[in-house]
């Protein structure tokens, strides 16, 4: 049977196998072998028998898994590289996904379901990638992600404002009227089975639609086939209210559209600077961006904290119950 020290070194080698180059791994394991031999020799010189001395030497080094993890972290720079550097790819990817979701949102009724579904699920994929980074680096990586979220929120908020800024008030009113009229036509036709409507945002869906749609329920985590009434999207808070009105009263749908049109015209007329109606939306956009950012950062913090805790507990248990250290 193999000596416990050699078993220890084999376990260490196994943990390092997938992470270090073979030539580096051999040297690392050899260095630990020398350490164990010398420590054991010293303890035997103090009067311990060979087995006890070897066990104490292993205990002093700790679990081979913990040792290997620390070696890998050092070798890959996980313990010394700046957190923003480690999360760069994840931050850029998530920001791009948020932009993509923002840009396609007006086109939802006209895009095939697989594109919309894919875009919805890219955000949780970014979250999973973030979790993978946390497990690999065993570090607190939330702050750089918070930075990315703030940047994305500021950019999206600015885009929202730009979208809301009309070049000509009268032209903007005309456009809003055209949109409302088009929606009325769709509602009267009641194209329930239209392939586009199952994934349409609530503010363009006709009353008759009862099919559940995919919506974002938690920040970053969409729940497929959830009831739209329980759906929660910052981008469509107003639209969700209108949806409820439509569901309560089919005829109210048209009335709500008319009301929206009136509000648009009223807003343009009463605004101090008729060509800058976005000023009225500024506080709302700010708060929605702020809440959205806080929500996302909270999710990242929760994932980071839970994974670090689980890793710590697992490694403690591994050390405590490692047969080579007992």
């Amino acid at each position: 049977m193999m000596e416990p020290n050699e078993q220890y070194l084999m376990a260490l080698d196994r943990y390092l196998e997938r992470h270090l180059k073979p030539e580096v791994r051999v040297l690392r394991v050899q260095e630990i072998r020398t350490h164990l031999t010398m420590d054991q020799g010293d303890r035997q010189a103090q009067g311990l028998d060979a087995d006890t001395a070897a066990r104490e030497a292993r205990r002093a080094l700790g679990s081979p898994e913990v040792l290997a993890r620390q070696m890998v972290r050092q070798a890959r720079g996980y313990d010394s590289a700046p957190a923003w550097h480690l999360t760069l790819a994840c931050g850029i990817a998530l920001t791009l996904v948020m932009f993509a979701n923002y840009w396609v949102s007006p086109l939802n009724p006209y895009l095939p379901a697989w594109i919309l579904g894919g875009l919805h699920w890219l955000q949780p994929l970014a979250l999973i990638y973030f979790g993978f980074l946390v497990v690999r680096t065993q570090r607190w990586l939330v702050w750089p992600m918070a930075g990315w979220m703030v940047v994305a929120a500021l950019c999206l908020g600015t885009l929202n404002l730009i979208r809301l800024t009309p070049l000509e008030p009268s032209r903007d009113t005309d456009r809003a009227a055209l949109v409302v009229n088009a929606r009325m036509v769709v509602a009267e036709q009641g194209t329930v089975n239209d392939w586009r409507l199952g994934h349409a945002p609530s503010d363009v869906a006709p009353v008759a639609i009862q099919e559940p749609v995919m919506r974002r329920y938690l920040p970053l985590i969409p729940i497929p086939y959830s009831d739209p009434r329980t759906g929660y999207t910052l981008e469509h808070v107003g639209a969700a209210n209108v949806t409820r009105l439509w569901k309560a009263n089919g005829e109210g749908y048209e009335a709500s559209l008319q009301e929206r049109l009136n509000n648009i015209q009223l807003g343009l007329a009463e605004t101090e600077h008729p060509n800058q109606p976005w000023r009225a939306f500024l506080p709302t956009i700010f708060w929605l961006s702020f809440i959205g950012t806080v929500e996302r950062v909270a999710v990242f913090a929760a994932v980071n904290g839970i994974l670090l805790l689980l890793t710590w507990v697992r490694l403690r248990r591994r050390t405590r119950f490692d047969p080579l250290l007992a």
């Binding site: 040297l27 050899q30 072998r33 020398t34 010398m38 679990s63 290997a68 070696m71 070798a75």
Partner: protein, 110 residues
Amino acid sequence: MRLQTDTKALVLSVLANGEKHGYGIAKAIRETSCGVLKLGEGQLYPALHALEEAGWVTAEWEAAGEQPRRIYAITAEGKAELGRRVARWSAFADGVAKVLPSALPTSEVG
């Protein structure tokens, strides 16, 4: 009680007194501190490899008996870094030393 120590400074400090292998460094730290400081799981070797990567120590394999040993030596940059770390630690320790006695009852302060 667990206190935060600067493992790299401890290692550099030991090597400033002469080159040593990994086990020798761990032993020197333990013995010099009368057993108060023991490098825990996975601390020593990752720290040594990080110091080597930073250019603060150099390492050479030495054939000695059955087991070849890796001997570490501090570089000039390592000595400069040790100076900076000692200065930082001294400032920290001075601050703690000034604050801690105020927590003791007056009669115990002397």
